[in-house]
């Protein structure tokens, strides 16, 4: 079995539809209903939104495929690196943590499949893109761990908290219950990432800096143009309380919020330029 595979090599059955990010954004089902739009954004996921059911189903499908990729990423970290003290190696205990994460993510996949069914959607109704797994392809174990366990699993904290609140507001105790359990696991995974980053770079501040830079890149990418943030109309809210439990300090959380604002401003600017270009070309 070869080491370091690419996202194209992930095994999927025929139900799964792979799409890149642009195709996903162009999916008309992701369009914002005008009546719900605030500054062109759908706002928080609440049951009173006209598109609440579809949005919740789409988010649940996104969680499901995200969990599969998280499972695959943790599994590959068990396999891709040797135990040792070199920069390309990892400690034995880190592999054990990744195996534990594998089990957790496998349960999350199982939970997500059942919740998807409960919410009226099924595997393949929405597309999958593999950019989450992309972060798990980094050949540097410290960068991979920081990108996956701090950035992506951090996003999972925000998403599960959002979904848990939606379950509460919608009067869906099954959804709320399951999301709360998954949230507990994600806090554990992020804490693993924070602890290992500290341990592995304790004598190598340059490497730590590089890893945190990589985390910022992933965090910005996974702000989805400002979809995740702290403003009222961010559909996915930054879950500060749970991130704090997972080892994030105030400064780091403020940084993520700022990255999200930057990502949002960039997307809005691109939209403005595109509209201007359309006007000029008479479209």
């Amino acid at each position: 079995m070869k080491k370091l595979i690419s996202p194209e090599e992930l095994g999927r059955d025929d139900r799964f539809e792979r799409a890149d990010m642009m195709d996903r954004i162009a999916d008309p089902r992701n369009a914002t209903p005008p009546e719900d739009s605030k500054r062109g954004r759908p706002g928080r996921l609440t049951p009173d939104r006209a598109d609440a059911s579809d949005s919740a189903r789409a988010l649940m499908h996104g969680i499901f495929v995200g969990e599969i990729q998280a499972l695959e990423g943790a599994g590959r970290t068990c396999y891709d690196f040797e135990v040792g003290k070199g920069d390309d190696d990892v400690p034995f205990e880190l592999k054990l943590d990744m195996a534990r994460q594998c089990w957790d993510e496998a349960r999350h996949c199982e939970i997500s499949v059942k919740l998807s069914d409960w919410m009226g959607t099924g595997i393949g109704e929405f597309s999958e893109n593999a950019f989450l797994f992309q972060a798990a392809c980094n050949p540097d174990p410290v960068l991979r761990l920081t990108g996956v366990n701090r950035a992506l699993e951090g996003l999972a904290i925000d998403v599960f908290n959002t979904m848990r609140e939606f379950g509460d507001l919608a009067g869906d105790p099954v959804l709320e219950f399951c999301e709360d359990w998954m949230l507990a696991d994600e806090v554990t995974h992020v804490k693993m990432g924070s602890d290992w980053l500290r341990k592995l770079t304790v004598n190598d501040k340059e490497r730590q800096k590089k890893a945190l830079e990589f985390q910022k890149v992933v965090d910005k990418l996974f702000s989805f143009g400002g979809l995740r943030g702290e403003e009222d109309d961010n559909p996915i809210q930054l879950a500060r309380r749970f991130r704090e439990l997972a080892g994030f300090d105030d400064e780091e959380m403020e940084e993520i919020a700022e990255l999200s604002r930057e990502a949002r401003a960039e997307v809005e600017e691109r939209g403005r330029l595109a509209r201007e270009a359309n006007v000029q070309s008479g479209v």
């Binding site: 079995m1 595979i5 695959e72 590959r76 068990c78 891709d80 996949c109």
Partner: protein, 222 residues
């Protein structure tokens, strides 16, 4: 209420554990190190396969089993210093080169269309062998002096049996045609030959010698 000062037997009538055991501290440490090496190779491979297996239920199950074997590796890792091996890495070794060749062949299939081969290696060959080796160890070590190893062996065997059942169910559902039966059997045959050449997870003597007629089991247990 009984008189709490009345002397009782140190070993109650229902407790028939014995002092003698087949393995010395050093032999036990060697075996435990070989178990750890094998469990590591197994959980790493299961983790690696999760990404390339297309069948969703199997993908999720392998993720669960990956942790079972990582936990066994951890149990053995923690047992080594208790067996006077303060550097566990030193004894984290395969029994011999032939066993390395066997494990390489078990973990080699990597393609999407090789799920049958992946599962055959683990659930038809390696895990049944581990159940045999762990059971032999359990039944031959001192039930008093080596109780910590026995406890870990029992946990590991419980997982192995459960995983073997899962694996058998998954394989039974995957093998649907005579060609697939042949594929599975051919791969099993290849691996069994490599395993026999190695003598097993601990090399020759992994499960003792059934042809050694000099070993007598007395009727009175002594």
């Amino acid at each position: 209420m009984a008189d709490s000062k009345k002397p009782r037997a140190a070993f109650a009538p229902w407790d028939r554990r014995e002092l003698p055991g087949t393995f010395s501290v050093e032999e036990t440490a060697d075996r435990v190190g070989q178990y750890k090496w094998t469990e590591m190779k197994l959980f790493e491979a299961l983790g690696g396969w999760v990404a390339t297996v297309p069948e969703l239920d199997i993908k999720m199950r392998l993720g669960t089993h990956c942790y079972h074997h990582a936990w066994h590796a951890e149990l053995w890792h923690k047992r080594l210093p208790e067996l006077r091996e303060m550097n566990p890495e030193r004894l984290t070794l395969p029994a011999n080169d032939e066993f390395v060749a066997f494990m390489d062949a078990v973990t080699e299939p990597g393609e999407h269309d090789q799920t049958i081969e992946k599962l055959v290696g683990v659930y038809r060959v390696l895990i049944p062998h581990k159940i045999a080796a762990y059971t032999y160890h359990l039944n031959n070590t001192s039930t008093i002096t080596d109780a910590p190893t026995i406890r870990s062996l029992k946990f590991a065997i419980a997982d192995e049996v459960e995983d073997f059942t899962d694996g058998t169910l998954m394989l039974t559902s995957l093998i649907e045609t005579p060609e697939e039966v042949e594929r599975a059997n051919a791969h099993q045959l290849k691996l069994e030959k490599l395993l026999v050449a190695s003598g097993g997870i601990c090399g020759p003597g992994t499960i003792g010698d059934a042809y050694d007629t000099s070993v007598h089991v007395a009727a009175n247990g002594n």
